[in-house]
Amino acid sequence: MEYRIETEDDNTKVVFKGDITFSENVSFRQILKELAESSVKTCIFDLTDVGMVDSAGLGMFLIAKEQADTAGWKLNVTGAQGHVASMLKLTKLSELLAG
C-alpha cells in the first residue's frame, strides 16, 4: 500500500494505492497519527486505486472513523471499485463510512 496526503485549508484527502491488508497496519496507524496532529475538519479516503481490502483493512477504516467521531472531524470513504466496493457493500460498511 502507498498513500499520499493532500491538504487544502481544513480539508484533507488521503489517496491510497495498492492493497490494504493486515500487513499495512503500521503505515495506516502512521496516517492516523498525522491526521490527529493536523487541524483537520473533513477528510476523504480516496480508494479509487485500491485493488483489494481484507477484513483487517476494513477494521482500520473503523478505527479512523472512531478517531474522527472522537476528535470531531468528518470522514468520508469514496471511490471504492471492484473487490473493494463489493467488500464494503457485503459488510454494509459503505453506509457507516460514507460521512
Binding site: F22, I63, S86, L93
Partner: protein
Amino acid sequence: MKENLSNDKMPVPGRNVVLPEGVSSAQILVVDDMPLMRKMIGMSLQRGGFDNISYADDGDDALIKIAKSMPDLVILDINMPRLSGYDVCRRLRADPVTANLPILVQSASETAEERVEVFAVGATDFVSKPINHPELLARVCMHLENRFLIRSLSDFQDRMQSELNMAREMQHSLLPESEIVDAVQLVGGASIEAFYKASSELGGDLWGTWPLSGNKIGIYVLDVTGHGVGAALNTFSLHATMARFEDKKLDPAAFLSSLNSALVGAFQLGRFATMFYGVLDCDTHELVYAGAGAPRPIIFGGENVRTLDSSGLPVAIVKSATYENLSDRLEPGESLFCYSDVLIEAEQSDGAILGENGLIKWIEASCLSGERGTVISRLLDQFFRTQSEQLPDDLTAVAIHRHLTLDLDNASEPETPQIEQPATQQEMPSVFVVSSDESPFDASYDDLAAPGLAVKRTGPITSKLSKRAHTGANMAVVLIDGTLGLEFAAEKIAFIDQTFRDLNGPVIVALDGEPHEHDPILSIVGVRYFDARQGIDKLRRFLAEEADDYVRVSALRQALEQDDGDQEPIVDGVYRFASRSEAQKLATVFSHASADPMPLAIGLSELFLNAIEHGCLEIGHDEKGQLIEDGKLGDEVTRRSNSANFRHRYASVEVCRGRREIAFRIKDPGPGFDFQAYLVDEAGHEKKHGRGIVMANSCFSSLSYSGCGNEVEAVFAL
C-alpha cells in the same frame, strides 16, 4: 589452610555485585591429570564463590563423570595421557546431550595452530597456563551466565510454545465434535465436508453446526479479524457468547443481533467478526439465514448455482446493527458451501485473485469431474496448487451436501414421480429423455419408443431422475439433449450424481453435429455422445444397443457379486460353449484369474457372445441391431438355437495360462467377418460393433483375428 583460602573470597574482575544464585551454585568439573593443577584451579574457583566443584583425573574419568552427572561447565586440560583434551572435546560435541556444554580449555601451549585446533574440536573458550586466576574466574562467570541466560530463554520459549499449542488445541476443540456432525448429517440427510486451517499458530475462523428442534439444523461460519492470539481470544469469546443464546438459534437474525449486542465493546476497536448463520428445515427444505458480512455462501448441485445474500454489518462494530432473515431452499441433491474470504482473496501464483466468479467456475468444473460429496476437497487441492506460499489468513471451507435419497420416504412430497416403474418391469430397458421444448429435436424423441425400449420423458427437469435411481429398477439409459448447446447438457449431467451413474446405464448426449475433441463433458466416464443429425431411427438403434449392453454388463456384475471368486484355479485346455448363458458363465469363471475381474469378464463376454451370436447362430451385425431394437433378439436366438441348421453348433475357447499372462483362443464355426475394416478404420470405435472390439481391446494386452475372422486370440496380462 584450606579453610582460610576458601573463606578469603577473591573478587571477580569487572564485578561489584555478588554472583547470581544459579551461577554460584553451578556444578563445575575440573579435568587435569596433575593433582596440583586440580587443587589450584579448585581453590581459585572456591575463592570466587563456587563450591559445587568435582574433579576428574583424566579424559576417560571425565567422560564417566559427565555421563553420571551433567556439570554446567568443564575446565579441561589439553595435554593428558591416553584420552587427550582434544578427544574429550570431540566426544562431548558429538553427543547431542553435551553438544552445548561450555568447555573451557586450559593449556600451556601457546602456538597459533594449537589455539585454532582447540576451537576446531569445539572448545568454548581458552585460558593459557600458567593460570591467571582472576582471568579464569572472569571467563567461568561469563560462560556460566551465558548458559543460564540461554537456558532460561529457551525454557521461556518452550513454555510459550507449549502454551500456544494448548491454545491451538483449545481452539480446535471449539470446532464441532464428530458426534454433533454425525447427528446433523443424519437429521439433514446430508454429508458434511469441512476444512479448517489457521494461517499462523492461532486463528480467528470458526464454523459450527447443531441439530435443532423440529427436524431442523443450524450451521454457521465466522471470521474474526486478524489472526494470532488476539483474534483467537475474540473467537473464544464469541463462541462462549453463542452458548448464551440457545433460545435464539431457530431465528438467525435474532441470533446475530443478540451476539452483536453482547459483543459490542468486548472486542478492541477495529476488530469485528463477519458471520453467516442459516437454519435448514429438513422437512420443507426451506433455508432461513442471516448474514453479517461473511462471503456469500454458494448453493450448487441443483438446476442452477446461486449465491446467498449474506451482506450485513459485521458483529461487534455498532450496537444499533440489525439483521434480516432471508429465505431460500436447499433441496435434496443440493449443496450449501460456506467459506472464509481468503479462498477468493489470496493471491494466486499468477498474482491474480480467484474472486467469487472464479470460485463458482471452479465449483462447476469440480461438480463435473467427480462426485458431489468430494467437490470441496478437490477444489481445495486445486486451490493449494495455485498457492505459492503460506496463506495470509485462516481458511475455512464447509459444505453440507444433501443426499438425493431423502425424498423416497417423504410421502407428503407434492411432486408425483411420473417415471417410477414397478420393479417387475426391470427387464425392459428404458431411456430417460431430458430435453427442452426449445430444442428442434424435442418432439421427435417421442418416436424413440420401440418394443425393446421404453421412453420416459422428464422435460428439462433432471431431479426426477434422482427418484428413479433408488427404486431398484435400475435399467436406465439417460438421453440428454445437447443440441441447444453443451451448457444445457453440462448443467443436467452435473445433477446426475455418481450414485445414479453407478446404478444405471450410460448417459448419452445428443449433439447437433460432431463433438469437439476438448468438450469436457464428453470426457466424463459413462457419458457418450450421439450425432443427432443421423436421425431418429439411428438414435433408436443406438440407444437400444446401449441398453442391451448395459443389461448384459449388469448381469455380469451381479454374477460376479454372487460368487466371491471361490473358484477352482483355471486349468489349461479347450472349453466349449453353446449358448449365451454358457458364454456368460464361462466369462465370469475365467475373469477370476484377474484380481479385478470385472474388466476381464466384460472383455471375455464380448468375445464369447460374438462367437455365439455371429458365429454359431450367424446373426449379422445389422441384423442384431435391428433385433435388439425390436426387442426380439432373445426370441430369435432361441429360435435359431433350436433350428436344425444351428442346433449342434458350438464355439470353443482354448485357455493357456503362463506366469505373466493368460491367452484365450476363441473359435466359432461361423462365416467370420471383415475384421480388417474394424481394425483399420479409425472411426471404427464410433460404430456399434467396432466398439465391442475396442471394448475388448482395451481390456486385453493384445487382440488378433485370424482365419476368416472366426478365430480371435486375446492375451490378458496378469
